[in-house]
């Protein structure tokens, strides 16, 4: 009996063998694999599994505690829902990418050491980017490359942070980096935190999300909405609980998403801004760092994955059936897409935190944590964001997409598999809302929070229904406009142009000047120097060499003439020489 199976590994192995089967078998596999993964989580007990030593680094691919299990449950549930939703897709590569993406996200959740985390983190970036590229439009390809570049940058920062942390502490065991005071730490702390904040889409590092997700395939966006930001929330809970700056950042991003959602015309980009907004509650919860706050972040991540998946499935169904994505071009679809409207609205009530829907039991936990910590401003600002959430996801988007001005299209509801997937997500949204203790039992800490008090119910309904009053009164100011909103991706989209302009203008001018200079001045100078040195060579060096040779030749000829061959001549010469020597030395010695 195998003691433990890594659910992420199930997806990765399935991704590798999926292309070997025909479409019919693939469809069966697409449903069975997530079920196998859910079962592997169901039988799992807390503990440490899959430890081994790789090149003197101690790797742990299966560290399981209660927090791990919360995310493992919801990731595998969402994998099943997403697979069912994309069952009709015949392009195997999209399924492979989705499975690798889910598998690597689970790899992060189970990682017990920083290296396993890093490898899973990088694989997640590449696999998810494919879901953007797969829609094949030019805009998608461009957005996909931007997405990839941003995430690779984040990955490099994480790598740097991990190496520095390892050098400082001598350990690669994945665990908290928080400083005792909850304040900012050193360089390793900063690099890891920033790379996590990037994946959590915390402004100003948020734009990759709202840039890329709306360009992904209809089914790909459903997976994207679930995993990347929530693995980031998971690692933040693990490493940075109680880091004070996260409270401010979380509140800011909750409002940031709401403000941009007012301006947005693309239905899935609007939902993307509400991922930013909702993840803000989770990030703030991590920053508060108390047990109830971390419970709130975990449970809100759980609820959020399901209802946001449902909302993306609803918007995706509209895009699939109409081919349109802008609110200005949609409207009046409720007549022929009633099931889509109905199921979408369940997701909308869940994200807006209506009583008896999932958001109510999880979001309120974060707000209660802020109140319990005496943070009045955090409570009020997060409540403003709640009002904005209902305003956009529950009122504006469905109004302009399904009701409002009739766009004249009469599309039917999407295929059955898509509706069933939405139906399962909807059941979960209501199930969690009605039976919150099922979710609370999974949470890392003991829960003694009661969501259903009379005052909480009337208070929440007051906020929501009076938001609806504001919507009705100000409807004419909310009409979507045919515009794009500048976000922080402006810096690298326009920045890349500046870079290209810089390369094409100043750099290329400089290059031209240098090459002109070398053509005119330097080359001529070189040619002249070469000519001169040739002259020196010919007239100087050669002349000397030749002169010496000629002289030696002449001397040889003269010497040759001296060789008469007659012995008496030689004897006379020797005697003459001897005479000269004797005279010379006797003169010296006589001195």
């Amino acid at each position: 009996m195998i003691e433990w199976v890594h659910p992420g590994l199930i997806f990765v192995v399935a991704a590798l063998i999926l292309p070997l089967f025909n479409t019919a078998l693939q469809k069966i596999g697409l449903l069975l694999v997530p079920i196998a993964a859910i079962l592997s989580v169901a039988v799992m007990t807390t503990g440490t599994y899959g430890e081994f030593n790789f090149a003197n680094v101690f790797l742990v691919i299966g560290k399981v505690d209660k927090l791990t299990l919360v995310f493992a449950w919801v990731f595998t549930f969402m994998a099943f829902i997403g697979s069912l939703y994309s069952l009709h897709i015949k392009e195997t590569s999209q399924h492979v990418a989705a499975y690798l993406y889910i598998g690597s996200a689970l790899g992060v959740v189970f990682a017990g050491d920083w290296f396993t985390l890093l490898v899973s983190w990088e694989l997640m970036a590449f696999a998810s980017a494919y879901l953007v590229f797969a829609s094949r439009a030019e805009a998608a390809t461009k957005a996909g490359f931007r997405y990839l570049l941003v995430h690779v940058t984040g990955g490099v920062m994480l790598f740097g942070g991990i190496v520095l942390h390892g050098l400082e502490t001598g350990s690669f065991i994945f665990g908290p980096l928080t400083t005792e005071s909850g304040q900012w730490g050193g360089l390793a702390f900063t690099l890891v935190l920033v790379s996590f904040l990037l994946n959590a889409a915390v402004p100003p590092l948020n734009a990759w999300l709202t840039d890329a997700y709306p360009e992904a395939t209809v089914t790909g966006a459903v997976f994207l909405s679930a995993f990347t930001t929530k693995t980031a929330v998971y690692v933040l809970i693990r490493t940075f609980p109680g880091t004070e700056i996260l409270v401010g950042l979380g509140v800011a991003m909750a409002l940031y998403g709401v403000i941009y959602a007012v301006l947005e015309n693309d239905c899935r980009r609007l939902l993307g801004y509400h991922i930013v907004s909702q993840v803000g509650y989770m990030v703030a919860g991590v920053g508060i760092g108390t047990e109830i706050a971390l419970n709130g972040s975990s449970s809100h991540a759980f609820s959020h994955i399901i209802y946001k998946g449902l909302l993306f499935m609803g918007a995706g169904a509209v895009i699939q059936m109409t081919g349109r994505r802008k609110l200005t071009e949609l409207g009046g679809l409720y007549r022929t897409m009633p099931w889509t409207v109905f199921l979408y609205m369940i997701g909308a009530f869940a994200i807006s935190a209506f009583p008896f829907f999932s958001g109510f039991v999880s979001k309120s936990m974060v707000i209660a944590a802020a109140a319990g910590d005496g943070r009045a401003a955090t409570v009020l600002l997060l409540t403003v964001a709640s009002s904005g959430t209902f305003l956009h996801t529950g009122l504006k988007l469905p109004y302009y997409m399904f009701f409002g001005k009739d766009c004249g299209l009469r599309p039917s509801d999407p295929p059955l598999n898509m509706l069933l997937a939405m139906g399962i997500a909807a059941i979960l949204c209501i199930g969690i809302g009605v039976f919150p203790n099922l979710l609370y039992a999974l949470l890392p800490y003991q829960v003694d929070f009661v969501p259903y008090t009379a005052a909480h119910i009337t208070g929440s309904l007051s906020i929501l229904m009076f938001t609806a009053v504001g919507f009705v009164l100000l409807l004419k100011y909310l009409d979507p406009e045919n515009t794009v909103s500048l976000d922080t991706d402006w810096f690298y989209r326009k920045g890349a142009r500046l870079f290209m302009w810089f390369a094409e203008n100043p750099v290329s001018w400089w290059e031209k000047i240098i090459s002109n200079l070398s053509d005119t001045v330097i080359l001529r100078l070189l040619a002249r120097t070469a000519r001169d040195s040739l002259n020196i060579d010919i007239k100087g060096v050669d002349a000397i060499v030749n002169g010496v040779a000629h002289a030696a030749l002449r001397l040889g000829a003269t010497a040759r003439r001296l060789q008469t061959g007659i012995v008496t001549h030689y004897a006379a010469a020797m005697i003459f020489g001897l005479f000269v020597c004797i005279t010379f030395y006797s003169l010296i010695w006589l001195e």
């Binding site: 709401v258 403000i259 941009y260 007012v262 301006l263 009046g332 409720y334 007549r335 009633p338 099931w339 409207v341 109905f342 109140a371 319990g372 005496g374 009045a376 409570v379 009020l380 409540t383 403003v384 009002s387 904005g388 305003l391 399904f402 009701f403 008090t453 009379a454 005052a455 119910i457 009337t458 208070g459 929440s460 309904l461 007051s462 906020i463 929501l464 229904m465 009076f466 938001t467 609806a468 009053v469 504001g470 919507f471 009705v472 100000l474 100011y477 909310l478 406009e481 045919n482 515009t483 794009v484 909103s485 500048l486 989209r493």
Partner: protein, 84 residues
């Protein structure tokens, strides 16, 4: 049944009924907010009925006005071909 439910929110013939339903729901919530038991909470507003109704309405209005102001006056909203 689902078609009828969804149709209630879309069809023009129900618009008066929709308005009446909304007003009824609002009244029920307001009355209930006065009647519910309140434990003494963390902040002063936890003891105030109607606080969240006013807060929710004002939040909605402020979000719309501030966002549109940022979008238009802050030059955040641009033509669709801005990046092309």
């Amino acid at each position: 049944m689902i078609s009828k439910l969804v149709g209630f929110f879309g069809d023009a013939k129900f618009s008066r009924l929709r308005r009446r339903t909304l007003i009824t729901v609002l009244l029920v919530i307001v009355v209930a907010d006065f009647l519910v038991a309140r434990d003494h909470g963390e902040f002063f507003w936890d003891d105030l009925p109607l606080w969240w109704a006013v807060f929710g309405f004002l939040s909605c209005v402020v979000i719309i006005i501030v966002s549109k102001a940022i979008g238009h006056q802050g030059r955040i909203m641009r033509d669709e071909d801005y990046y092309d």
